[in-house]
């Protein structure tokens, strides 16, 4: 009989604290969308491009644009809060 070796899992695979995805809307029709650029070159342009496609193909409503200005750092909480209060959905993007 070979003795078994017990080995411990080195990973943390999920959030230990509450961290849930927002409920996905069934339709984008008429929804207000936030366009959150990250300060990278062309990040505003690519968001506008995606917005135009989604508006034409899925009837997205008005857009609210903002820019966190620094691609290297997480979005400041007050900016996120502001978008969350005004928008139904938010798109963000990188761009180089």
């Amino acid at each position: 009989m070979v003795e078994e070796i017990k080995v411990l899992d080195p990973t943390i695979s999920t959030s230990s604290k509450d961290s849930l995805l927002a409920v996905r809307p069934e339709s984008l029709n008429g929804l207000t969308v936030g366009l959150l650029a990250n300060g990278k070159k062309n990040s505003v342009e690519i968001l506008q491009y995606v917005y135009e496609i989604l508006r034409e193909e899925h009837g997205l409503g008005i857009s609210i644009e903002d820019n966190k200005g620094n691609a290297s750092r997480p979005c400041p909480p007050d900016l996120l809060e502001n978008l969350a209060n005004q928008c139904d959905v938010v798109i963000t993007a990188s761009g180089d």
């Binding site: 078994e4 070796i5 017990k6 080995v7 943390i12 695979s13 604290k17 290297s72 750092r73």
Partner: protein
């Protein structure tokens, strides 16, 4: 024994089977590991004198609570000795500080490593090399402490190559990168003292280091000409660096200190010498955005204090090093923690 472990346990018929399983799961850096048995991990937990469930910190972007036991498991895997564990715990605490921006530096295409600098008497006590071939192989403490931090990043934050880690190139320091300062040739305060800790304190500092550029100058003994040799390496990092690390080799620093120069004078000189017009910077267009141009002069560093100056390396050879930091040294701030 860690019978009260909170980690999932796997059973294997042989160490080889366990090691192969870990490799297959992507839980390693691609090199063979020591398998983290319950007994081996318990030795680290016991050495710390703390429960394995202790929370060392929370990874701020993914909200993951990092327990002491998870750090211990990755330490065993890397080949650390239990006496290195206090250094690792302090280093992990430093990595989890929001200003270090661990997620950014380990996800980015820019490909930073974690330059880990241990200062104070503990470095000699546990055998961290700060002398000959300071970045090279052959020293268990350097090799395994740096590796444990990389395994921690891979396994506890999920930043593994091709998944969250999207580095275009990366560099060899992403496998392991832990050093100490060369206490035998240091004419200046060390990093710990520079950052306000008492003389004799044990600290660990983490920097989001890009690939080093070696600077050679065997023909000058005067501080001005030695320091002028650093200009091109500093220019390669781009303008307006918020933080940048320079490792002075003993030969260079001895010449500089013989002339009576302090760290502060060296910083001021480097700041003033590494400056050029925006049109010259524009040739490389290093920062994202429009190409700079014009006759206005821009320095390589934001301020003289942007330079962190260390002394390390072997006594022979006039080779120093410039280590630019991730995102122009402003996207991540280096963090120093006391080793308890």
């Amino acid at each position: 024994m860690s019978s009260n472990t909170t980690s999932k346990t796997y059973s294997f018929h042989s160490p080889h089977d366990a090691a192969e399983y870990f490799l297959d799961q992507g839980w390693t850096d691609g090199l063979p590991i020591n398998i983290p048995t319950e007994t081996a991990v318990a030795r680290f937990v016991e050495f710390s004198g703390r429960p394995g469930q202790d929370i060392i910190g929370v990874e701020p972007v993914k909200n993951r609570e990092i327990t002491l036991e998870k750090v211990a498991i990755n330490a065993v895997m890397s080949g650390c000795k239990p006496e290195y564990f206090p250094v690792l715990l302090a280093a992990v605490e430093a990595l989890l500080e929001p200003e270090f921006n661990l997620h950014g530096i380990t996800a980015s295409t820019m490909g930073a490593g974690i330059l880990t600098v241990v200062s104070g008497p503990i470095a000699k006590d546990i055998g961290i090399n700060g002398g000959i071939s300071v970045f090279g192989p052959g020293h268990q403490a350097n090799a395994t402490i740096g590796r444990a931090l990389r395994l921690f990043v891979i396994n506890c934050t999920g930043s593994r190559s091709g998944e969250i880690d999207k580095a275009t190139l990366g560099h060899a320091g992403k496998y392991t990168w832990c050093i100490t300062e060369n206490e035998d040739f240091r004419p200046w305060p060390n990093t710990s003292e520079d950052r306000g800790f008492k003389i004799g304190s044990n600290t660990v500092s983490v920097f989001a280091g890009l690939s080093p550029t070696q600077v050679s100058n065997h023909s000058s003994q005067d501080p001005e000409n030695i320091l002028r040799s650093f200009r091109d390496a500093l220019f390669a990092a781009g303008p307006n660096q918020g933080e940048i690390v320079i490792i002075f080799c003993p030969e260079h620093v001895q010449s500089i200190s013989r002339a009576g120069w302090t760290k502060s004078q060296v910083r001021d000189f480097l700041y003033e010498t590494a400056v050029r017009s925006d049109t010259e910077w524009g040739f490389g267009s290093i920062p994202p955005g429009p190409k700079p141009s014009g006759s206005a002069m821009t320095h390589s560093a934001l301020t003289p204090d942007s330079f962190t100056l260390l002394v390390a390396g072997g006594a022979a050879g006039a080779f120093s090093s410039v280590i630019p930091l991730w995102a122009s040294g402003v996207g991540s701030n280096s963090v120093t923690k006391e080793i308890i």
